[in-house]
């Protein structure tokens, strides 16, 4: 277990009367790839900017490597940021851009030269030293921005939706590139994105945020397989979220049918939310299923078929490698460990905070 590099303690921040962050607590371990994931306005970028020193929190502390850096200006912090729109210095060459931080810290010319060369190689841009940023493509500019940050060997690298402006193919390439960089350099990454797939692909830890609160924190597998509330379930991947009734331990009633499950401790006859991932819905012959329905839509998606099944007044989303034509009668079956039971929030506030806090 690595030691804790960053600790955010009770961070609050509001703009005007709009609360962005409310007593946020978060700790990040050394050499971790941590992703802040959430819809726009959830407070993830503000968290990053507070870490970078571009915003100061209304209250709370930022502890970096054991020291309180809450009031330290950005230039005194041993971390670097890769900005959403790259923020390259358009009046400087690529070399000057990358050497910017090194020059300030007073490194020798030879050192800077070598370092720039190395950084450019690292991001696959050898030979671009004398070009101007405007003459580069978006992906290249992005890589320069990353090179400019990592060349300073920061303990912590902050990345603010760095791939948002790139097209799909390039984005996927860059994702692998970032993972490779992280492994080669041994730097701690904090990555902000609203793209759940990106988060799942790269992260060691994902922090799902909404309306200024952490909804859930965990490994990609945990987050995906065991969302702790409807928001997380809905935000991460596709899912069927159904109203249910916990009849007793390990038995839940969904749409009038009884499904065995593995959850315990919810009490008896309690209303709950039930999450079932579309790939966990098994379609069988009508008589073999727990409930019966009719296929109403069918789309071929390449790896699998996507189907919608009308059953007991609910439209089930189903991913399967088996194809059932539209109009076909089917039976629906779900394995007990594929059923995820969650508390039902009783108010809007509770919904925002997340029931597990």
């Amino acid at each position: 277990m690595n030691h804790t590099l960053v600790n955010l303690i009770d961070i609050s921040k509001s703009f005007g009367d709009q609360v962005i962050l409310d007593e946020l607590n978060l700790s990040i371990r050394e050499n971790e790839f941590l992703t802040l994931l959430g819809p726009s306005g959830c407070g993830k970028t503000t968290t990053l900017r507070i870490l970078g020193g571009f915003e100061s929190p209304d209250s709370g502390k930022v502890i970096f490597d054991g020291k309180d850096i809450t009031n330290l200006p950005p230039n005194k912090r041993n971390l670097n940021t890769v900005f959403q729109k790259y923020a390259l210095f358009s009046h400087m060459s690529i070399e000057e851009n990358i050497a910017f931080g090194l020059k300030i810290s007073g490194k020798s010319k030879a050192y800077i030269h070598d370092k720039v060369k190395y950084a450019l190689k690292l991001v696959n841009l050898d030979g671009y030293e004398n070009r101007l940023p405007d003459s580069l493509s978006g992906g290249q500019q992005q890589r320069v921005a990353i090179a400019r940050a990592i060349v300073n060997e920061p303990r912590l690298l902050l990345l603010d939706e760095p791939l948002g402006a790139l097209d799909l193919k390039l984005r996927q390439d860059m994702q692998y590139e970032l993972i490779r960089l992280k492994n080669e350099l041994g730097i701690t990454f904090i990555y902000v994105t609203h793209d759940q797939e990106e988060a799942l692909t790269m992260s060691d830890t994902i922090v799902v945020m909404n309306q200024g609160y952490i909804q859930q924190m965990g490994s990609p597998e945990d987050i995906y397989n065991e969302p702790q509330n409807a928001f997380v379930a809905d935000f991460i991947g596709e899912s069927n979220i159904l109203p249910g009734m916990m009849l007793e331990d390990k038995l839940v009633e969904i749409l009038g049918a009884k499904f065995p499950c593995v959850d315990v401790g919810f009490g008896k006859n309690k209303p709950v939310d039930v999450v079932i991932r579309p790939e966990d819905v098994d379609l069988l012959a009508p008589e073999e299923g727990t409930i019966q329905g009719v296929v109403s839509h069918l789309i071929f998606k390449g790896v699998h078929y996507e189907m919608e099944v009308q059953a007991n007044g609910f439209e089930w989303l189903v991913h399967s490698t088996d194809m059932f034509p539209v109009g076909q009668q089917v039976g629906i079956h779900v394995n007990p460990f594929d059923i995820q039971i969650m508390h039902k929030p009783e108010s809007e506030d509770e919904e925002a905070i997340g029931i597990n806090e």
């Binding site: 571009f54 940021t81 210095f89 009046h91 910017f100 931080g101 300030i104």
Partner: protein, 271 residues
């Protein structure tokens, strides 16, 4: 595509008729004498001691006032560009608003303020301070230039500065630069188009003014603008006036080249 180019036709005709031909007229007058013969005399008239002195004084005063404008306007433009959008519009308007009070009246009002028994000296007297010689000095002329042309410096600077992505500044700070270093290496170079455009917009009218030196210099201080104005309005010698105008245009041409070099995309505009 070609059809759209045709839209500039009327302007092309207009600019030939009212910009290029008139300029040609100045060249014609500038290089002929009153009998219509070719001569260099009019242009060389700049070499006479008194004209050359006036030119040098104009250059000096307009350089000083341009510098003061830059020093005053830069922090101002930075403040404006950091303000919330809502308020900026209003404050920028505050700087354009005085233009609705006539230029001559505004300058004349400074007379009332600066005179021997003017408002400022009376205020000084009230506090038992010695009264100052303010009006009819080169300083008063510089003040008049700064006052009248300051908005032309503020607006382009404001435009350039507010277009700089805040993240670029944050990036520099993030990479370890102090506020001062960030200004020197990032903000200042990036605002160059605005600086050049502002300098041109202040320097050229300052260099050529004759009204401000008339009103605030008590006609004791002769600038090149006054010399040219006198050739047309009093001395009745249009040829020499045109010749001297041509000399002035050399400086204007230099400004144009500089602007073209630093402001390729017209970022440093007034708007």
């Amino acid at each position: 595509m070609n059809k759209r180019k045709l839209l500039s036709g009327p302007y092309l005709i207009w600019s030939v008729a009212f910009i290029l031909i008139p300029l040609a007229m100045i060249f014609y007058y500038g290089f002929t004498n009153s009998e219509g013969h070719f001569t260099f005399e009019n242009v060389l008239a700049i070499g006479t001691v008194e004209n050359f002195k006036a030119l040098c004084l104009s250059l000096l005063l307009s350089l000083i006032s341009t510098l003061i404008c830059l020093i005053l306007a830069y922090p101002l433009a930075m403040m404006l560009s950091n303000m919330k959008v809502n308020r900026t519009g209003f404050i920028v308007l505050l700087f354009i608003l005085p233009m609705w009070m006539n230029f001559l009246l505004r300058t004349l009002a400074w007379q009332t303020l600066l005179e021997k028994n003017g408002v400022i000296n009376q205020a000084l007297g009230f506090f038992h301070l010695p009264s100052q010689q303010l009006i009819n000095t080169p300083g008063a002329i510089v003040l008049g230039m700064v006052y009248n042309f300051l908005p032309f410096m503020v607006l382009p600077l404001y435009n350039v500065l507010s277009k700089i992505d805040k993240d670029v500044i944050f990036a520099a700070r993030d990479l370890g630069a102090t506020a001062a270093y960030t200004f020197r290496k990032i903000i200042f170079p990036l605002s160059m188009p605005g600086i050049i455009s502002g300098i041109t917009m202040v320097f050229v009218p300052s260099l050529t003014t004759f009204v401000i030196s008339d009103l605030l210099g008590g006609s004791k201080i002769l600038l090149i603008g006054n010399v040219i104005d006198r050739q047309f309005q009093q001395g009745s010698n249009w040829n020499v006036g045109s010749g001297l105008s041509l000399v002035l245009m050399v400086f204007i041409f230099i400004s144009m080249l500089l602007t073209g070099k630093y402001d390729k995309n017209g970022e440093g505009g007034m708007f």
